[in-house]
Amino acid sequence: MGLKVQPGVIGCAIRPVIASRDRSLEEIIYDTAQMALKDAGLTIADIDGIAVGSNDQFDGRSISVMMASGSVGGVDRDIMSTPSGSEHAFILGALRVATGQFRTQLVVSWSPTEVSSMPEAQRLGNDPYFHRALPQDELSAHALQASAIENAVPGARSAAEAVAAKNRAFGTAAWGDQGPSGKMRWPLTPGMTSEPVTGAVAMVLASPEFIAERWIKNVAWVQGMGWATEAAFLGDRDLTKAPALVAAAHQAYKMAGIANPDGAFGVAEMTDATPYSELLAYEALGLCHRNDWTARAADGTFGAGGRLPVNPSGGVLTWNPVFCTGMIRIAEIAQQVRGLAGKHQIPGVKRGLAHAGSGFAMQYQAAVVLGQEARP
């Protein structure tokens, strides 16, 4: 069943890496929000409400939206904030349009690298009772998951190496340069992850009524979306599976009227925090059973010119603005559907799939289906 009021994406600004320090964080957020509004052909006067996603530890600002409200137009205007994930800010904005109470939403997320140690900032995400005594940051959680997957699935390592090579090739084609490689954290090699960079993303959503009224033609409609969360303690989870993403995909596909996801999309973006994350997503999204990971990774199914190109943007393995990588995946698919993805545009995309995973070993999972048709 679809949403009562179907939101459409009418503007995007994707900035997966901001290397210069000539703008402060609040200025970066301002720039990014303005870029998305310009892409939509709107001004802040057209915006009914704002949803933002940010991480206080990374920002070094408690309740960081307090400082950022002014940057996104939140002064004397409706604004809500979530720290749980950038993709949750998108979902919040889409749901607010879907209520019929808002005709437009500006959604913004950002992820700076101003803290002296991202691993230490991430460790604060652990409970203070048991797990902060461990070196458990996001990279460690991903490494633990990778070790579990390697043990459970024969050939997973070679499949993961092929996925990493695919995404780095996509990244080179899209950006001409590679993001910095990550750290060694067994069994993850530096080439399987990337160091955090500063980035930001903004999107403008609108109702069908607003879109018709303004004669806006280039729209990526939200055909389906789902989201779910796994247990907080890694020891409670089966790290070789992604049940929250299975649930999220089921919800998204049901909303979009998709019975069989195989062949349903022209492009996908997935949160490849590691190539193992992408492999798990293939399975949870119903695109490739784990027994076929090695074969599909080798035969180019998910590569350039393949049956379903995954991460033509180069993914997180190319640029890793940690907190906003999930919403960037959604924005990338919106731009693919709108034909505005730039150098990494896949020709003829009518419908695409975004996977957003965040937190320790992808505790938070979301799937979003975007397409050119208002009602699939």
């Binding site: 691993p119 230490e120 461990l134 460690s140 060694m184 954290r185 067994w186 303690f233 890694l234 020891g235």
Partner: protein, 150 residues
């Protein structure tokens, strides 16, 4: 132009209340050199580390269950960089499903030479049996115990 930065160091101390359940977990480690979990009333699962309620059933847990000291490795990694207030690297840590438990407990692996990561990984292979070791002098904290190959 010259671009400036402004460094700030905040030092704030939190005194987190552990509550009865986590307090008991640590005092038993300190006083008995033993790991205890809590059995969920709804599912019967023994949760380690212990919780006062199950986030699966949302029912209170009902009894203490002694687990381990033996168990098997469920996941592991090796870390080569320093973290604040933690032992000097390199070290290995991961999750162990202790005998009698239904969820895995995080902790450090000791007694394995980490200079050759591939060789160390072979010794720490998932499914490998380990045993829980306890420090001679225990403070009632996570670093009071670790895992070694059985």
């Amino acid at each position: 132009m010259e671009l400036l930065g402004r460094q700030e160091v905040w030092s704030i101390t939190y005194d987190h209340a552990l509550g009865e359940t986590a307090s008991s977990f640590y005092t038993r480690i300190r006083d008995e050199a033993a790991i205890y979990g809590r059995r969920s009333a709804g599912s019967g699962k023994v949760m380690v580390p212990p919780r006062s309620f199950s986030d699966e059933t949302l029912l209170p847990t009902e009894e203490w269950v002694k687990v381990g000291p033996g168990g098997k490795i469920e996941a592991f990694t090796m870390v080569y960089e320093a973290f604040k207030n933690l032992p000097p690297p390199p070290y290995a840590f991961g999750y162990v499903l202790l005998d009698g438990a239904d969820t895995a407990l995080g902790g450090y692996f000791k007694g394995v030479d980490l200079t050759d990561p591939a060789a160390a990984a072979e010794k720490l292979k998932i499914g490998t049996r380990v045993t829980t070791k306890f420090a001679e002098e225990r403070k009632g904290e996570m670093l009071d115990f670790w895992f070694e190959l059985a």
